[in-house]
């Protein structure tokens, strides 16, 4: 590990100044610091200053999670544990609480933050290994494409096949979430515009400009929403596939649905085809429900070792829908 300064600026403006000023050439923002420490240990980042952000409070921030009228607000510094246990979210946007509660381990959730979860880097084992100069690190090859790609993407046109690691982002994508920013030309960005696919820029996953800092997130209530993840290991494992679903129900009939998948693409993967197919489906008609969920794999192009995700994804979607409706799922 290389020496670096640790900064604790007093507010967002001072943070912005550190990020854009000339004093440091490789500044790095830190939320909980989990991913930062991983990168430092793996020799991937050599920052000259690590800027702690957990103490920064945006104007109007009170509790880590709050609700004002029909707007739910999650502060950038809210821990994953706080999000998972939030009464507001459990009642008004359970998919968000459940998605975050399913991630990582209790220890990680106790320090990991909302903004950190959204902006963490991918877990691809070639990206994480300093010996592999992959596309993301400025190299010329995606080693996963002809290598070990069991945990990689089945969607997207490449040329990089990471899956986006955030559990929170797909849940936010179906709750009209907006990411609020400080320090740039814009005050906010819809969550669906926060990320880009690798063909639109391979070195980063997000669309933030240098110096832009996430201050908080707002979202709309989605009381009938659910989350389901399929994991190899039930303790501290990255999902093989997961889905978030928000429904409007008419009795047991789906009036409208919004579904977003995770762990299958380089970005949170919206499934408009499934949304459309679910419309009018009676939740008690499992055959119809399964048929609608089967649309989830439309357009998927698996790699050599991850075709199993084609079987899994519709299952995750179906179970997220059932969870949203408060129905029992098999496991």
């Amino acid at each position: 590990m290389n020496p670096f300064s640790l900064a604790r600026p007093k507010d967002h403006a001072a943070t912005h100044a550190l990020l854009t000023g000339r004093r440091f050439s490789l500044p790095l923002l830190k939320g909980g610091g989990m991913d930062v420490v991983d990168h430092l240990k793996e020799g991937l980042w050599k920052p000259d200053v690590v800027i702690d952000t957990r103490h920064l409070r945006a104007p109007g921030a009170s509790a880590p999670i709050s609700k004002d009228g029909q707007t739910i607000r999650i502060e950038a510094w809210a821990t994953m544990s706080e999000i998972a246990a939030s009464d507001i979210l459990l009642k008004d946007a359970p998919c968000v609480a459940h998605a975050v509660g399913s991630a990582a381990s209790p220890q990680v959730r106790n320090v990991g933050t909302a903004a950190g979860n959204l902006l963490q880097r991918p877990r691809c084992w070639y990206y994480r290994n300093e010996q592999f100069q992959c596309l993301k690190k400025g190299g010329g090859t995606c080693f996963a494409f002809e290598g070990e790609n069991k945990f990689h993407a089945i969607f997207g046109e490449g040329p990089c096949y990471i899956v986006h690691p955030s559990n929170l982002a797909p849940a936010l994508c179906i709750t009209d979430a907006v990411v609020h920013l400080h320090g740039g030309k814009r005050a906010s960005l819809p969550i669906t515009d926060l990320y880009h696919t690798p063909d639109k820029g391979i070195r980063t996953e997000h669309n933030l400009e240098p110096g832009e800092i996430v201050t908080h997130i707002t979202l709309s209530p989605a009381p009938v929403s659910g989350f389901y993840a399929i994991k190899e290991k039930q303790s501290f494992d990255w999902p093989l596939a997961f889905a978030c679903a928000a429904l409007q129900l008419d009795g047991s009939t789906i009036r409208s649905a919004r579904v977003c998948a995770g762990a299958v693409a380089p970005v949170p993967w919206l499934l408009p085809g499934v949304d459309a197919a679910l419309k009018g489906v009676d939740l008690d008609d499992d055959k119809a429900l399964r048929a609608a969920c089967a649309k989830a794999t439309e357009g998927a192009r698996p790699l050599s070792q991850n075709a199993y995700k084609l079987t899994m994804l519709p299952v995750a979607v179906r179970r997220a829908v059932l969870m949203a409706a408060g129905k029992k799922v098999e496991a």
Partner: protein
């Protein structure tokens, strides 16, 4: 505290299922508090004043030539003391080619980075199937058996590479003081570790001491003498006359400190319509990486009557780290193949797998254990293989193990001091089984005092010689000798008291920490010890004394699980582990040993897998995040059942509980879904492939 009151064969009361007895109480591990509070000092915790820090330079690829390096530049990094390149070629990820020595861990990391090795990669082989595998060649007798059989099962069973994942990585801190040296090594053999050190240190054996008070994980890979780490640290410490600290990084520990090798078994087994197995061909391959041997699989195990088996084995080399002993080397992989094969035969023949095993089982004890385990797990609730519909399907499976009981060289001594304190001593180490606890219990019991009276000293080559912890011999070696030494110390004390009272020693006894004369309280322990002439009494005994454990340690395990057929995820609900180990010294640590074995077996069956990049040969999950190990949410209910019927002496318990588990899990998955998954780990992708028809 009232162990003496518990008759030998009294069943334990709060666990009526325990099919035998625990002679001793439920003593807690003596060092439990020290371990969970951080007071226990592991070798890796030994940061000595004025220490230097050493680390290896290694190849990050499966096969590569070292084209260039900047070791001259690295030497100029502040704090770097020495840089040595000793090799030019790497044959596997982790292959060491030199070292850096520095004033601090930070300077060491900077120095290692500054060496900036440029490697030129070469094509690699990363698995057994990359090698040229011999075609099966049944001899005339085997061909005859197969021709005459009603059915022939043809199958290929595959197992993965499992790494030891010791929480405390391999390494040593060596303090060379000129005339003598102190060597803190994370080792499973304090005495074995002295081998090879003399040359490296340049001192006669009597002038140095190997110390390992606690070890953070010893599953076989720390049985290699002083290890590469100890030898280099010793050499550097001798050369620089300063302590040298050398512990592996996690990446190195995952690649260069051994593993359980992968295996491939091709079987052609002939059997009759009623499930009688006639014999056949078992062709095995062990994936030994760059190793020269060690890829053997215990298959057939000899536990079942499988008729005439022609068994062939080849080790296959590729660009991976060499195997080292790993908790029952060759056995879990063999048991996986054998147990699943038996279930496949049973299903084909329409025979219940339990009935098939009762028929084939060579041991009367294991037959009884099978019957008990079946009753506890509720075998009668098992649905016929392939008969279930529904998304969630339940499965039951069986595995078994047998383990001979050896002894290693052991001297023990028990000291009774004038202040009444007692110390039990032998130089062996505790790899986590509860060595201090069993020694203290044996000593307290033999003398007749409460457990709290006894202190224990272990983990040093300056103490009386003790066994290396390999082959599950540590407790069987030390327990009887410890008891004999304690009995001798007791005899000396009672003789002292008798002489002072001009009586015969046979009139005296010790019970519950009190001295009795003719069965009546005579004096307290402290009063008695105050009469010791000189400072202390020492009772000594050596290997061969005491009651030696005879025969096998047997085990059978039953797994009850669910398979989610939509996702392929396997949820293990219960494992019943019936296990014998001769006499049970301490029920809690014995059960803990069984539970630990089951956990490691489940982790092997379901998750663990060393992933080598097929093109570069690098281990992609050389950490403890993407190298997946079972966690708390994956824990089933594990029920250890100690079987002490006919127990004499103390037998092995370390390795056998890890053997049956993977086979039992595989059988249970087969029972649930109706298609065998012939490859571990049993990950969801493989289960889904089997369900889709691609698995068998």
């Amino acid at each position: 505290m009232r162990r003496d009151d518990i008759p030998y064969s009294m069943p334990t009361t709060n666990r009526p299922r325990n099919a035998g007895s625990a002679i001793s109480d439920d003593a807690s591990r003596l060092d439990a508090v020290a371990k969970v509070t951080g007071q226990a000092i592991y070798s890796r915790d030994r940061y000595l004043p004025n220490s230097l820090f050493a680390g290896f330079i290694f190849c990050p690829y499966g096969k590569a030539k070292l084209e260039s390096h900047a070791s001259e530049a690295a030497k100029k990094i502040p704090g770097v003391v020495e840089v040595e390149i000793s090799g030019r070629e790497g044959q596997y990820h982790g292959h060491t080619v030199g070292h850096v020595l520095a004033e601090s861990p930070e300077a060491l990391r900077r120095g290692l980075a500054a060496v900036a090795c440029k490697w030129v990669r070469e094509p690699v082989r990363t698995k057994i199937r990359d090698g040229e595998l011999a075609e099966p060649s049944p001899n005339a007798k085997t061909s005859d058996i197969l021709a005459k059989a009603d059915h022939v099962l043809e199958a290929e069973y595959e197992t993965q590479v499992q790494t030891h994942c010791c929480l405390e990585p391999h390494g040593a801190t060596i303090d060379h003081k000129g005339e003598s040296a102190t060597c803190y090594i994370s080792t499973q053999g304090t005495f074995a570790a002295t081998d090879g050190l003399s040359d490296a240190i340049g001192l006669p054996r009597s002038k140095y001491e190997v110390i390992c008070e606690y070890i953070g994980g010893g599953f076989g890979s720390k049985l290699n003498g002083a290890g590469k780490e100890g030898v280099l640290a010793a050499r550097l410490s001798a050369g620089h006359n300063r302590p040298v600290y050398l512990f592996r990084t996690r990446e190195e520990d995952q690649t260069d400190t051994g593993n359980r090798p992968s295996g491939l078994a091709r079987v052609k087994i002939g059997f009759t319509k009623d499930g009688t197995i006639l014999g056949g061909l078992v062709q095995k391959f062990g994936g030994v990486g760059v190793g020269r041997g060690g890829g053997g699989m215990s298959f057939p195990s000899g536990r079942y009557n499988l008729g005439d088996i022609q068994s062939d084995h080849d080790d296959v080399r590729f660009n991976g780290g060499a195997p080292r002993p790993f908790r029952a080397p060759g056995h879990p992989q063999g048991a996986f193949c054998e147990e699943l094969m038996l279930d496949e035969i049973a299903t084909k023949a329409g025979v219940d797998p339990l009935a098939l095993r009762l028929n084939l089982e060579n041991s009367g004890a294991r037959k009884e254990m099978l019957e008990l385990g079946a009753e506890i797990v509720g075998w009668k609730n098992r649905a016929k293989t392939g008969s279930q519909a529904g998304v969630i399907r339940r499965g039951f499976g069986i595995g078994s193990a047998a383990w001979g009981s050896g002894q290693g060289r052991t001297d023990c001594e028990v000291v009774i001091n004038r202040d009444g304190s007692i110390e039990a001593r032998t130089g062996t180490q505790d790899i986590g089984t509860g060595q201090r606890t069993t020694m203290a219990i044996m000593t307290a019991e033999a003398i007749g005092v409460p457990l709290a009276f006894v202190g224990v000293r272990i983990g040093s080559s300056n103490l009386p010689v003790g066994p290396g912890s390999g082959g599950s011999v540590t407790t069987p070696s030390t327990a009887p000798v410890m008891a004999a030494a304690a009995a001798r110390a007791r005899e000396q004390l009672l003789t002292t008291i008798a002489n002072l009272n001009s009586a015969d020693a046979s009139e005296f006894d010790v019970k519950g920490g009190e001295i009795l004369r003719a069965g009546k309280p005579f004096m307290t322990w402290a009063q008695a010890c105050a009469k010791i002439g000189g400072e202390q009494i020492v009772g000594r005994a050596k290997q061969g004394e005491g009651e030696r454990g005879k025969g096998h340690s047997d085990g059978v395990q039953f797994v009850d699980l669910r398979v989610d057929t939509d996702t392929g995820v396997v949820y293990v609900d219960r494992v019943i582990a019936v296990q014998s180990c001769g006499r049970v010294i301490c029920r809690k640590t014995a059960e803990s040993q069984i539970i630990g074995g089951v956990i490691q077996g489940l982790s092997y069956a379901l998750f663990e897998n060393q992933v080598l990049d097929r093109n570069a040969g690098s281990m992609l999950n050389a950490n403890m995040e993407s190298y997946k190990i079972l966690g708390p949410n994956d824990m089933p209910h594990i029920e250890p059942v100690l079987w002490t019927k006919g127990a004499t002496g103390v037998r092995s318990l370390g390795e056998p509980p890890v053997v049956p588990t993977a086979g039992a899990v595989a059988c249970a998955v087969f029972n649930a879904i109706g298609t065998p998954v012939r490859s571990i780990p049993l990950t969801p992708d493989k289960v889904l492939a089997a369900l889709a028809g691609g698995g068998a």
